[in-house]
Amino acid sequence: MTTKISFRDVVKTYPMREGTFTALDHVSLDIADQEFVTVVGPSGCGKSTLMSMAAGLVEPSSGEVLVDGDPVSGPGPDRGVIFQQYALFPWLSVRKNVEFGLKLADIPGAERRRRAERAIELVGLSDFADALPKTLSGGMKQRCAIARAYAVNPKVLLMDEPFGALDALTRVQLQDQLLHTWSQEQRTVMFITHDVDEAVYLARRVIVMAARPGRVQQIIDVDLPYPRTEEIRLSPEFGRIRNEVWHSVYHQAPAA
């Protein structure tokens, strides 16, 4: 498998009143093409910062981030980003939100409508295509944001705690839907979360990070087949991996 995203010796420091704060301390990580990776860790471990670097929204202090072997220099439509706060344009309908990126890519009208339609259908929002975001529930808003990211056909999906603000039930539904969408159109997914169950259920590999300074603590393979089902979620094997991740997240030795 070829490497899609590569973090090489990435450091991120922020100046403080006294000295500097190290958000990420020499992080190296490779994510394979079409791989679904989740990143989990306590708050302050720099997991969102790491993702923002791949998105091109944050620059590393040193080290480099490569996508397809090219250094990242700013955001671009080849990498779709999904934010926890949905970030839908509230003055645009679901359809117009989804078409936003397609318009920027100068896709002509008919083709644009067709692709938007398809992305909206993929996330099951066809009945709400002309609704404004304010009339949607949190789960529907996030599905719209996923459709908007999918519509421009990015090679990489970067998701920053996308289901963090949703209730537990909606969260599970959206996890299944995301996996379903992903199985139909496989992309490289880097999914940030603080929910251990979610991390294990979605990923082929779970990256566990530690805080102060932010670093990779452990990488845990999830040897469970796709499609993931309720049966898998309730299986002893899932429980075993979940325990391993849980332990790695919640019983971290302090940094030397």
Binding site: P77, F100, L104, F128, L132, T135, S137, R148
Partner: protein, 266 residues
Amino acid sequence: MTAISAPQRKAAGRAEGRRPRRSIALNLVAVVIGLAVWTLLASVGVQGMPGPAEVAARAGELIADGTLALDALASLRRVLLGFLLGTLLAVPVGFLMGWYATARGLLEPYVQFFRTIPPLAIIPLAIVLMGIGEVPKVFVIFLASFLSSVVATFQGVVDVDKTLINAARVLGASDRTIFLKVVVPASTPFILVGMRVGLGSAWGTLVAAELIAAQEGLGFRMQQAQLYYDLSTIFVGLIAIGVLGLLMDRLLLLAERRLTDWQERR
């Protein structure tokens, strides 16, 4: 999913849009009580105080001989001209200040300084520099509405949700696109609120501006009436100013509702 079906949503929207009958009834009761108190005050003989009937009669006269329409038109023309010019300048200046740190650094001291000076205090200067024609009157109104609108626009641009800007950037938007497609629509609610405040201050400056050797206008008419102890005419002027101000505010409010219907209201 907790989605409500479309017809339900529509019904909910209609109920929200209409004010409950009870509250309208209470408003009417308040008006009736106000008129009664006014009548009472006039009848127990507060010196020279006309009652509602006298004022209504005087209003009839002023409407019949066209004076009221002429005055209202003159005042409206000044207010609208000053307000339009003020807003027209305030919106681009506010955007510049919100978007470019350099523009903010250069302009903010002036905006903040002039904001602390009541526009009426500019009148003596305006008379000396601009004479006693229409120009100083419109200028003072212009200044009042400009200063209210510019701060609101600037604040609106500064307060645009950074996540929305990032969302546009990751979809490949250029700075220009982000400005036109994200910053402008996102700050529209602020601009419209600024315009309402601006219209309020424009209207509030009117009467004083008409102190500057006016020949017509609601403020001028009230001045004249004061000289002749004609309280009824003053009351007619006051009520006309109130009604016109309310009408314009409601019109802007309507525009605001239309244009920013997408906002989540809590």
